[in-house]
Subunit: 157 residues, 2 copies
């Protein structure tokens, strides 16, 4: 797929997320970037703020989770797979407070591999994949990082 096609596909998914998941609408999540390997959403601070004036931890973990979910859904769509994708477990580290608008980015985790994932899906109709998500900081160090495992299941027809 071309870069424009990847962006259009990610924008269609973002539109569906906003239509179907009221909480992401409340968070004012927008597509920032997608290149087939990294999916990045942008979020304003105001609807995601906490009592201390920085981003609410629940908003950070929600945004990171949906970025990871989106990365897996888009990879499946590119291969014509009709699957349900859900998050199985995740661990988040809140490293530093987030005082401004922020991004939630997802890539494959180190050691994770789309080829193995799609082989499992072909064999079992179900597969797991580990995704690494982060809120990047201005200095290159993440403000928050999330390791999440997603499960894809083929629709039974």
């Amino acid at each position: 797929m071309t870069s424009a096609e990847l962006t259009a596909q990610a924008q269609a998914l973002t539109d569906a997320i906003l239509a179907d998941i009221p909480l992401n609408r409340a968070m004012q999540l927008r597509l920032h970037h997608y290149d087939g390997e990294r999916l990045s959403f942008a979020l304003p601070l105001a609807p995601n703020i906490n009592d201390k004036g920085c981003a609410f931890g629940g908003a950070l973990v929600s945004a990171l989770t949906v970025a990871g979910w989106g990365l897996v859904v888009l990879a499946l769509r590119q291969r014509g797979e009709q699957c349900e994708v859900f998050v199985g477990e995740s661990t988040i580290r809140y490293r530093r407070p987030v005082w401004d608008d922020f991004r939630a980015e997802a890539t494959l985790a180190e050691g994770a591999d789309w080829a193995a994932f799609f082989t499992d899906l072909d064999t079992h109709g179900k597969a797991r994949i580990d995704v690494q998500c982060q809120v990047p900081g201005d200095d290159g160090e993440p403000l928050a990082s999330l390791a999440a495992r997603f499960v894809a299941k083929r629709h039974s027809h």
Copy 2:
């Protein structure tokens, strides 16, 4: 404190959460129960739903995180401590889909101890405590469970 005083204190905190954290307002979080050892919020499914018609993982983890945070804040207030409380890290397991209105409950984690926490706070002006949170299922098994570590820091005056 009497049971009524504990409830009033938890209701005041819930009111503040709803006033200060727009995302919790969007989630329509309400106080369900507080007895000094367990804090429980109730949430309707509708504002927290996902594309599959069950609760969005990001809503579950947000609700569980704020329940854990509230448990720590209330314990500090009962001892007259003026602290900032923030979540440091957490791990969530999404065990089964949540198809209905749900609760997010927090208690101390096994092995965690308020006495040790308050001793650390006295000594260092800062302390950590582990909290266990869950979305209870009808059969007593959790639908989702979150282990979270919170940090309290005394306000510097």
